[in-house]
Symmetry: C2
Subunit: 181 residues, 2 copies
DNA sequence: TAATCATATATCGGATCGATATAGGAGTCA
DNA sequence: TGACTCCTATATCGATCCGATATATGATTA
């Protein structure tokens, strides 16, 4: 989904600055909707403002640039709803870790073991964060997204933990064969 | 992972044309390593050739452009191994579908039901493709990647099937609350 | 027979990304 | 107490990526 649409999504939940939008994109459910950082967010907000989808309120600050608080407009709300009503694109899952594992025969087993252990920790941390959320007051949609994430990341952790040792043990003597699919 | 590195990865498995590389990126395990299409692949191959990481053999064809077959060089192989030896970046999962579900209160329940049903079908198809692979002759890495995918996509299918009805039933009367995390 | 898909090579305009710039306040640690 | 790191704010820019488009023939399907 393009950055402007996801920014509009954040603003349907309440007014926000570019900096606050980036925080939303880094943590919580929005990290599963977009990857955008400042390089994309500020240009997107500028464009949304130009299109009339958001309004801007600047609050002076003492020793920092003026705080720019964005609010969604009715036109912006309609644009966001129209975007979510369109058939969603394919889910995307991309993993540098799986690429490294796929080519494990090029790497020493200790490096594979380390990579798997770090990825187990990474998934555990993501899973614990999802599990520790207080979902009281949430709608059906956010609850569903949180639980979907728990199911998928839980399966990832479980698989990695259960198969770590057999991968590491066989990684050192796997013949360099081509994978065919 | 950048497009050039993944192209080198394909070429460690055997010589290939740009068109063949794109097919590798669309199907099989490489679809979980990169999203690149022609717009990225041809420029990447051109740059890899300029850097001496690949060589090029052109085969004349009757009524089509000459077939350009790329081969990895020892320098390219070293570059690829070095790239996979670096600490892999975070796994990335992005879903337009989950964004739509998160904001389900903006959509009619029948649209939510349709989106969930289509996504169930999509994950089932991906899962069936992974399961139907003939893994004989594969190394430990490719088998691990295939099984990881099955575990994760299997969990996704299971969750969607088990929770589809309760989402759709509550989607029509969810109060428009803010999700907090 | 027409439409669609496959096989081939590519480019381009627009979007995105990650580093960088500027800068002060708060918290941590030796 | 000072250095370092993190947080809070605004942004830009060069490089990379993306998806549509171009060209064109053969194979397959309805």
């Amino acid at each position: 989904m393009d950055v402007r649409t996801v920014c509009l999504g954040v603003l349907t939940l309440g007014d926000a600055t570019g900096y606050e939008i980036r925080k939303m994109f880094e943590e919580g459910p929005f990290q599963y909707f977009t990857d955008a950082g400042f390089g994309s967010i500020y240009p997107a907000l500028k464009k949304l403002h130009g299109e009339g989808y958001v309004t801007l309120h600047e609050q002076a600050q003492d020793s920092r640039p003026d705080k720019k608080v964005y609010s969604i407009t009715p036109a912006g709300h309609e644009a966001f709803t129209a975007a979510t009503a369109r058939a969603p694109g394919a889910d995307k899952f991309r993993s540098d870790f799986l690429l490294a594992v796929f080519f494990e025969h090029f790497l020493p087993p200790n490096m594979i073991a380390k990579a798997v252990d770090e990825r187990i920790g990474w998934y555990r941390e993501k899973l614990e964060h999802m599990q520790s959320c207080d979902r009281s007051g949430w709608g059906a949609g956010p609850v569903f997204v949180n639980q979907f994430g728990q199911a998928v990341y839980g399966a990832a952790v479980k698989f990695l933990e259960e198969n770590r040792d057999s991968l590491v043990e066989s990684a050192g003597d796997t013949p360099k064969t081509e994978a065919a699919e």
